[in-house]
Symmetry: C2
Subunit: 238 residues, 2 copies
């Protein structure tokens, strides 16, 4: 289940949200160190998937990875990162496995808004492989769940995923891809969002639709108190 | 799109599959080094999601991560790992983001078989967080896609995911979980598989169903030549 957040200061604090009141400058300074480190760990994950070094070499690397983990844990949250709000109302979901700036599992994907439409250009490499050379169907579903949720939010209807249906039209090649989503219809607290993943050919040839998805998103109870407080400008920043 | 493989030596080699003819002993030796290293990188990912160390500390760690990546890349495949078959016919999908022994993105999950039923007990930690304290809906979908595919294979109908429908009944708590799946029906090259994710309470209380899924799996063209060659005993080993 994903939740997609609007600007929340007008709402009662939803459960599990943390207001740490970091200023915009503090967030910027923090991310200037965090984002490159997360990118580096992503490259490590990719290298591990592909490495052919001998067993002894892997063991040497392992001991040093463990030492780095200890250093990062010297001062760490005891549990998940959660969603944190700064003094400007912006939110940070660093642990999100699709968009999280502190999560090396995330490709990561930065979604763009054009009115109510959401899109993204991104790459999925060897760490997202299912069938040989192709993206794992579950990885596509994970990206689509997040993207459809972002589109629900962009359309002013942030919500929790109720149902996600993913139709695989053809194998999705590893490499550069494009995602697109937008709200199809809204009925009360329920919105239906459609989206798809396409190839992004380097040679300028026509993109091919690989995966299509439909999501039903439900406005969370805590956000129903003041739907007008949800800031349509905010999605995609976190 | 996921593919789930049976023992393939009776079939024409499907596209992108590599026969490297490693012996069982060689695979065992390799995995004795690879699996602990991948576990270590998983702990690094988790530590990074939770770390609060200062910016300078993160930068120090980053330089050393980059050095380790270089070491692993000194001898590495130029592209994705793919699916590799050894001399005993067993396959290795180390890069799979759900079950891959060399993929730190994977929780990882080891599926168990009981006849045609597939199940797994596993944990999803802070790196799989969507809403605060809860599993990202896309991460649940990713696990379910793989599990339903494994069940299709366990039921003798390995296939590519055609359609995956995921229904979120309630928030899935981060922590210990259980997954279950089995084939519901088969019609020609198409099988319908059902599965679900449940809580796994430490106090012995009743598990709660958090997510349900239905998948339609299509037997790949290359496997239609000799369906009898698909070894029902093999799934879940890779």
């Amino acid at each position: 289940m994903s939740t997609h957040y609007g600007r929340a200061q007008h709402l009662e604090t939803p459960p599990g949200f943390v207001h740490d009141e970091l200023t915009k400058a503090e967030v910027k300074e923090r991310e200037a160190a965090l984002v490159p480190l997360t990118d580096s760990v992503r490259r490590l994950i990719d290298a591990l998937v592909r490495t052919q070094v001998a067993e002894q070499g892997m063991e040497d690397v392992r001991h040093r990875v463990d030492a780095l983990t200890e250093e990062l844990l010297a001062d760490a949250l005891p549990g998940p990162h959660g969603v944190r709000f700064g003094s400007d109302g912006g939110y940070r979901n660093y642990g999100n496995p699709v968009v999280g700036k502190g999560n090396a599992i995330a490709p990561p994907i930065a979604f763009q808004r054009d009115g109510e439409a959401v899109s993204a250009e991104f790459e999925l490499g060897p760490a997202y492989e299912g069938p040989p050379g192709l993206v794992h169907g579950g990885a596509s579903a994970m990206v689509l769940d997040q993207m459809l949720g972002e589109a629900a939010s962009a359309g002013g209807k942030p919500g929790m995923t109720g149902t996600l249906t993913v139709v695989y039209r053809q194998g999705t090649p590893l490499g550069p891809l494009r995602g697109e989503a937008r709200i199809e219809s809204v009925e009360g607290v329920k919105s239906v969002v459609r989206g798809r993943l396409l190839t992004r050919p380097a040679d300028g040839s026509e993109p091919v639709v690989c995966v299509e998805a439909e999501g039903i998103f439900i406005l969370p109870r805590w956000a129903r108190q003041d739907p007008a407080g949800v800031d349509r400008e905010h999605v995609g920043e976190a």
